[in-house]
Each structure stands twice: as C-alpha cells, then as structure tokens.
C-alpha cells in the first residue's frame, strides 16, 4: 500500500511511540470525560486526570434524571422517519429525472439542484414560524418533515439510475410493467448500494442536527439527544459529572454504528472527494 518500506529496530520503536503519543492526544478529551463520568460526585475535582475511584451511579443518574434514555429514543424516531422519507422521495424524484422524458425536465432539474445553494441557516427563522402555525412545535413531525426530501438525495439516485442500461425500461414496458412495478422490481434493487449510502448519510445528518431541534423544542420530553445535551448543560456547574456521563451516553450509539458501518462510511465520505 505505502511505498516506504516498513521501518525496523530503533526507527520502529520511535514510530510506535509517536503514534501512541498522537493517539493519546487525540483521545484526551474523550479520556477526561470518561474518567469524570465514572467518578462519584464528590471526587470529580481531585486528581481529574486519574481514575482513582469508580461508580456507575452517575451514568444511571444521567439516564434517568438527565432523561438521556428519552432523548435517545426521540433522536432515533426522528432519524428513522427522516431516513425512510428521504429514501422514498429521492427514489421517486430520481426516477422521474432519469427514466422518464417529458417537457421541462431539464429546467425542473436545475431548479431542484439550485435548492442546494440555500443553506439551512437561511431558512430556519421562517421554518420555525411555519412549524408553529401548523401546531407542530414539540412534535416528531415538526422535527422530521422539513427534511423529508433533499435535492442531494434526488441527485444521487438520478445518477445511479442513469448508469443503468436504457434497454431495461424498454424491456420492462414491453412486458407490461408500469412505473411502480418497474421501480419496485427492477430499478430499486439495482441501485441498492446508492440507497444504502443515502440512508446512512441522512440518518447521521438527522441525528446530528443541532440548531433545528433547539429552535422548535420547548418541552423537555421532546428533546433530541443534541438539544437534550444543550438542556443538560444548564446544570454543568451543579453536577458536572452527570453532564459528562450524559455526553458519553449520547456518543455511544453512533460510535457503535460507525464501527459496524466503517467501510460503508468511508466509501460514502470519499466518493465525492476522489471522483471530484
């Protein structure tokens, strides 16, 4: 893989030492947070770098009093709704932009793409009012529906479908398959890898949303993990180790998910960069 030959002897020791030191520095904020989350309340500020006492009580407090369990559930529900909705809407519109031919297709597609130039931050003042008018503050639909369709997803699915052989559609039409049957039985199975990457991407971006849940959630019960951590921060001075424990609990699901999906994630992240 790498051109350089593997180092030997003293250079090998030096190399591992350097890697070890850098790894420690990178993990240092995680290390201190874990140590803090596992210490009993009174012992936090003595020797904050050394794990000299241990308890699971603080983690339990974060789960119950800090409501992390509830926040994780909310985040999971919202992220699943967003992911399913984005996959469905992207398949439908991606199909319409690749397999069908009709007047105005080019103009519509450019209009779709141009919505990618509008940053989230430019729309949220008005979106908060819209969600308020709909009576969707503090609700799952309020958290999820604004993100149920994206031009990015449409673009991804369109590209994948354009790479399918054009004869497929003709063959299916001769067999009498309508659009829905063709989509279900031919097109969707063939672009499954793209849909997997899209699903992973939309799940992660929904899970990591910070600003939006903070804007439309006033009821603690409806916090996602991210806005829940913001609410938890208010008690940072009174019970710092509970907030640290909450931070660890909030991070664990994504750490596990990324370890499981490591390969797919790297593929998804690098697709744009390498092909450029």
């Amino acid at each position: 893989m790498a051109a350089e030959r593997a180092p030997r002897g003293a250079r090998l020791v030096g190399r591992y030492t350097l890697l070890g030191i850098v790894a420690f520095v990178v993990l240092f904020p995680v290390y201190t947070t874990v140590i803090g989350a596992l210490k009993p309340a009174g012992k936090l500020l003595q020797n904050p770098l050394i794990p000299d006492s241990f308890t699971l009580e603080v983690l339990r407090d974060a789960w119950t009093e800090g409501r992390l369990g509830r926040y994780l559930l909310n985040s999971a529900i919202v992220a699943i709704i967003v992911t399913l909705a984005q996959v469905v809407t992207s398949v439908l519109s991606g199909y319409a932009f690749s397999m069908l031919d009709y007047p105005g297709r080019g103009v519509l597609f450019v209009l779709f793409l141009s919505t990618m130039l509008v940053p989230l931050e430019a729309t949220l003042v008005v979106n908060r009012r819209t969600i308020g008018d709909l009576g969707w503050l503090n609700s799952y639909q309020g958290l999820a529906i604004p993100f149920a369709a994206t031009a990015f997803g449409t673009f991804l699915v369109r590209q994948a479908m354009l790479s399918l052989p054009g004869d497929l559609r003709d063959a299916a039409r001769i067999d009498g398959a309508g659009h829905v049957a063709f989509l279900r039985h031919v097109a969707v199975p063939l672009v499954r890898p793209t849909l997997g990457a899209l699903a992973l991407f939309s799940f992660l971006s929904s899970w990591n949303q910070y600003l939006w849940p903070n804007l439309i959630t006033t009821n603690q019960e409806m916090n996602t993990v991210q806005s829940g951590l913001r609410a938890l921060r208010e008690s940072a001075l009174q019970s710092p180790n509970v907030v640290m424990a909450g931070t660890i609990i909030a991070a664990i699901p994504i750490v596990i998910a990324l370890l499981v999906f490591q390969k797919a994630l790297v593929r998804g992240l690098t697709a744009g960069a390498v092909k450029g």
Binding site: A96, D101, A149, Y210, A251, V266
Partner: protein
Amino acid sequence: MASRVSARQRWRQLPAALALLAPSIVILGAFVVYPLVRAVVLGRQRCGVTGQSCRTVGWGQYGDVFVSQEFQNALWVTVRFALITVPLGLVLGVALAVLAHKPLSGIAVFRTIFSSTVATSVAVASLMWLFLLQPDVGVLANVGWLNELIPTLKRPGLLRDPATALWSVALSSVWAGLGFTFILVTAGLQGIPEDLHEAAAIDGATGSRRFWKITLPLLGPTLLFVVIVLTTRAFQAYGEVDLLTDGGPQPGDTTTTLTYLTYGRDSLIAGDDGLRSTSAVLLFLVLLALSMIQLRLIGRRVHYGSD
C-alpha cells in the same frame, strides 16, 4: 433514449413525472424555497418579542444591518474562525494521515482512533471541551501544576478571556472535524500509485522531497475538497459557540459568529424575527458568494486536469 421518443409520447409522460416529483416539490417548496422568499420580505420588518406585530421598515434595513457594528463584528469573527479552523484542520488532518500511512502491524487500530472524532456530534464534542476548559469544574483548571504554569486556565478561564475564547472554540471545532479530514486524506493517499514513490526513491529523492514533490501535488483534488468542506462548516458553525461561550465573553461578543447572531439565545436580536431574517438573508448572500468562489476553483481544476 430521448431521440427515440416522439413529442406526443413526451407530453404523455408528464403527469406521471409530476406525480412522482410531487412529494419532493412540496417539501422543498414549503421548507426551502418559501422560507427563503419569505425571509427576504420579513427582512424589511421589525417585530415585537412575541413574534407578532411586525411593522415594515423598508429595504434600507438590509444596508443598515450590514454596516451595523454588531453585524460587522459577527462577520469578522466568522472570518477569523474560518482562518483558524481551516488551515489548522487541514494541516493536522494531513499530518495524521501521513503518520498512519505506513505498513505497520496494528496500524488499523491507530487509524480507527484517528478517525474516531467523526462519531462525535457538535454537542458531544463541545461538551467534552467544555469540561476540559471550563475554569470552575473543568479538568485542566483543576490540575495543580498545569494551573501554575498557565494561570489563565483558572482566572478568567480560556473560554472567558477575550484573547483566547475564539481560539478555544476553534480548537474544539478542529478536533471534532479531525476524523473526517483524516478519512478523506487517507483515501487520497491510498489513491497515489506506489511506483511513483519507488521510482523517485531509486532516483535518490529523500522522504521529505517525495512528500512535497509527489504526495502533496497528487493530493491536490482531495485537499481542495477538504478545504471547501471545512470552510463551509466554519461559516455555519453554531453549536460550539452556543455550548462553549454563548457568543461571549461580554462585552464585545468575542465569539458571536453570523449564525450565533442570527439564532443565538443571548444574541442582541433574539426575539425579533424581522432582524433575524435580515441577518439570515445576509448570511445566505455571504455563503452564496463563498459557493461561487468554490465552484470557480473546482471548475478551474477540472479544466486544468483535462488539458
């Protein structure tokens, strides 16, 4: 495909196409296009704290807000934030990737560690840094010898000292983005053909010479992509400011970025949807200008590459 379809057949496909596009059009229309247009209109108004009782001031409000001291400060804070986080994030990401790009046993463990911060959301990363830097309950401020070495840790605290606050927030942001940069640059390094390095080594080129003359130029497209992503992120940074400093220390709004000015709880214009819209639209224009520059850079590179 298109050439084989007659005009009449094309019109016949229109209803099906519109039906398929309808869900996306409704969502994008209601939550991307409409709010942008509405924000442009709202940006001419001032509103009461309740969000109602808006009165129109006029288009001049855009100019007034843009030249206001608060907006100029936020714009400058945002630019400085980008000027810190983008180069630092890029250099550290490349350094980690080069360091881990060696055929050693166990290197996979180090690669996983170096990419691990990709798993932290902005809230998780910022809270970890809050407990590192906070002057009362933070870790660093309570380590005796470190505290004597750097008194600022305790009084007033890195996040409360106007000289260090933006750097501290930026450092947290760089750390959170490090895993992402590492993954991208590692993939870029793996795409560089091995025989180029071997040929250069046979010709007597040293390791550092090969890095500057072969590795870095061939990483160009990857690095450009990383710079674009990091810049866009820097201009949209919100969570780290909200959690670490609330836009302060005050007075001076030392870490009030454009997004914090628009959406922050402690922002001067919080509660006035009119002024927030003005600020949001101006933020959109700034980001649009940034996108145009980025598209030009990409366009030039693609052109250059195809020659």
